[in-house]
């Protein structure tokens, strides 16, 4: 192998330009594959973190009851004696009648780390100068901090002020901007034919504009009083140790407690599908670029093999086997591959870091001031795998052709 590598390296040095062209193609392919994956996965992860930090990994909502229709649907789909409940055709009873009991049952699940009881309702907000619709979330602050990232989402004011003020309210940044209010201002909330005044303790920003422009957090007693809902809860927000298991847990919980349980994957399905599509689309685009550079490389190596026919004949005439000749040219491809992957990885890491420092101002599905990127070894391995397949295929065919040359034919042709 040492001799073949030595010969291979010399052949490469003799054809530096062709080698550099092939190497550049591989480096670019690997780099862009990783960078596009880092970007799309970065946006996806950032979105997931934001959405889970705001709405939780699981939500337990309405109670359901089987109806004759749902039972008959279940029976048709079951060969066994068991009937597994299906969501279609069931009757739903709004909210959770006994939240404490349900929360206790939920905490028995090993994956559950925290549960927060939430009472929601629509209100009219009146600052004296402006009126606006809103949605209040009546929470027990300590419980809710364990199922959300509310503490880190405070942008103005203090969470402690809210904790210590029974009439305190947390409002979203977009809503505060619309109402032209700031921390310390008071506002009147009207619901169920009654109005109460609250004081803005802090302003939060989840980054999800649909939330930041309508949602207000109140202490649960205040919310219950305003909404005239002394009992029950609108939903339970649940935090999980392993968020990837949320769909299985949701299904299990739903069958045990008889409440509609929605995982974050189901809740955000539309967005997740969009991200998945983007990621696959980017991978296909970049793989096509790698494939094109692989074709260029195939061309270059095929030309090198044709140009090296004389050298191949010499090597064969002095005792190098077809496999030796083939290996010499495959080693050229392997050198391009190894160098291309290493340099591609380095370029990708540098470029990903540089991109993560680019200031951008996104406010919409989520909010960020810098390009979100996701560092994953899987991207680097996938890029190397794609390069491996393309480069070695591009090298294999010319190498095989090189091995097929008959030395006498080449020598005879050269001599004429």
């Amino acid at each position: 192998m040492e001799t073949k590598l030595w010969i291979s390296l010399r052949f490469i040095l003799e054809k530096r330009k062709s080698f550099l062209m092939s190497l550049t193609g591989t480096v670019f392919g690997v780099t862009f594959f990783i960078v596009t994956q880092a970007q799309t996965a970065g946006f996806e992860r950032f979105f997931i973190e934001t959405i889970i930090g705001t709405n939780g990994a699981l939500r337990i909502q309405d109670k359901y009851q089987d109806t004759i229709r749902s039972l008959s649907a279940d029976s048709q789909n079951s060969d066994s004696g068991f009937n597994i409940s299906m969501r279609r055709g069931k009757r739903y009873i709004s909210g959770i009648q006994y939240p404490k009991r349900v929360a206790e049952a939920i905490r028995e699940f090993r994956n559950v780390t925290a549960v927060s009881e939430v009472v929601t309702g629509n209100v009219e907000i009146n600052t004296g100068q402006k009126k606006h619709g809103g949605e209040i979330y009546g929470i027990n602050l300590q419980d809710h901090l364990e199922v959300s990232r509310l503490a880190s989402q405070i942008v103005f004011g203090s969470l402690n002020d809210f904790r210590n003020d029974a009439a305190g309210v947390l409002i979203g940044r977009r809503l505060a901007e619309r109402l032209l209010t700031e921390v310390g201002d008071s506002l009147a909330l009207t619901a169920a034919d009654q109005s109460r005044r609250f004081k803005i303790s802090a302003i939060y920003e989840t980054g999800v504009s649909d939330i930041d422009k309508v949602r207000l957090f109140l202490h649960q007693p205040g919310a219950r009083s305003l909404l005239k809902r002394p009992f029950g809860a609108s939903f339970l927000q649940v935090n999980l140790a392993d968020i990837d298991r949320a769909p299985q847990d949701a299904e299990h919980m739903s069958s045990v407690i008889g409440h509609l349980t929605v995982s974050w994957q189901e809740r955000e399905k539309t967005w997740l599908e969009a991200f998945k599509f983007l990621r696959i689309s980017a991978a296909i685009t970049v793989s096509t670029i790698i494939l094109i550079s692989g074709l260029g490389m195939f061309n270059t190596l095929a030309i090198i093999v044709m140009e090296k026919r004389r050298e191949i004949a010499i090597l064969r005439s002095i005792g190098y086997t077809r496999e030796d000749v083939s290996s010499i040219f495959l080693l050229q491809g392997l050198l391009i591959l190894v160098l291309g992957i290493i340099l591609g990885w380095l370029c990708a890491a540098g470029l990903t870091f540089a991109i993560s420092r680019i200031p951008i101002h996104i406010r919409g599905v989520f909010s960020t001031d810098y390009f979100p990127v996701y560092w994953s070894a899987a991207h680097y391995i996938a890029a190397a795998a794609v390069a491996f397949i393309v480069v070695l295929t591009a090298s294999y065919l010319p190498a095989r052709k090189a091995a097929r040359f008959e030395p006498a034919e080449i020598i005879r042709g050269t001599a004429i």
């Binding site: 001799t3 030595w6 010969i7 010399r10 052949f11 040095l13 003799e14 004389r310 050298e311 004949a313 010499i314 090597l315 064969r316 005439s317 002095i318 005792g319 190098y320 086997t321 077809r322 030796d324 008959e406 030395p407 006498a408 020598i411 005879r412 050269t414 001599a415």
Partner: protein
């Protein structure tokens, strides 16, 4: 031809070879029989296109005959497996081509070392020493580390001879080894081939147009239209 009871290094019987396809096909060799023994220096002479080089390629195991048999050290090689023939080329045959056929990416000493590296019988230092000694023997001691394109035609031909001798072959084949050289260099190259063959006990078969050189060989095979004239 000197009488000897030793087995021949190279022997062939009724060798035929045609080149080209269909209507372009032409018979190049039409039943060649010959043998060469150790320490013998033989020449094949004849007009251009009579089949000299084709025969040499067959003996060098670079090509296969259409009919007939070739024995190298009493081993039938014309129908042997490609891997075996390739190993024989490396270990038992030295070939000097008309146009040097050196690898331009390597220096003179590296070109001589390449067959040794394939054989893998020696350590790197031993290979270097042997290659230096071979180049020294043919008067290239001061040019061992020069790139091939920095050497004259005669020097390149001598490097090719050194490479052919690298693995101490039992058969040395040379196709017009002095064809592109001036008289003085031709004399030197031939003397070196002759002396090296005699000293190392190898059989030497060279193709030449040069009557002066062929007359100095132990035996000359005159060839015409794919046959030996004295056959």
């Amino acid at each position: 031809m000197k009488g000897t009871s030793r087995p021949p290094i190279l022997r062939c019987r009724d060798v035929h070879r045609s080149l080209g396809h269909a209507e372009n096909r032409s018979d190049i060799l039409n039943g060649i029989d010959m043998k060469i023994e150790a320490s013998q220096v033989c020449a094949i002479a004849g007009p251009s296109g009579c089949g000299k080089s084709t025969l040499l390629y067959l003996f060098g195991l670079l090509d296969r005959p259409d009919e007939g048999s070739i024995w190298l050290n009493e081993c039938e090689v014309s129908t042997a497996h490609d891997v075996f023939r390739t190993r024989l080329r490396n270990e038992h045959i030295g070939f000097v081509f008309q146009f040097h056929f050196l690898l331009p990416a390597f220096t003179a000493i590296e070109n001589v070392m390449i067959p040794m590296k394939k054989a893998g019988r020696m350590r790197h230092e031993q290979m270097q020493n042997r290659a230096s000694a071979l180049l020294d023997d043919i008067g290239l001691a001061g040019k061992t580390h020069r790139q091939i394109n920095q050497l004259s035609g005669g020097e390149q031909q001598r490097v090719a001879i050194a490479r052919a001798l690298a693995n101490n072959p039992s058969l040395l084949l040379a196709d017009e080894p002095t064809g592109n050289l001036d008289f003085q260099t031709s004399e030197t190259v031939f003397s070196q081939l002759y002396d090296l063959a005699k000293d190392r006990g190898a059989a030497v078969l060279l193709v030449t147009h040069n009557h002066e050189l062929s007359s100095r060989c132990d035996r000359t095979f005159q060839m015409r239209d794919g046959r030996f004239m004295d056959a």
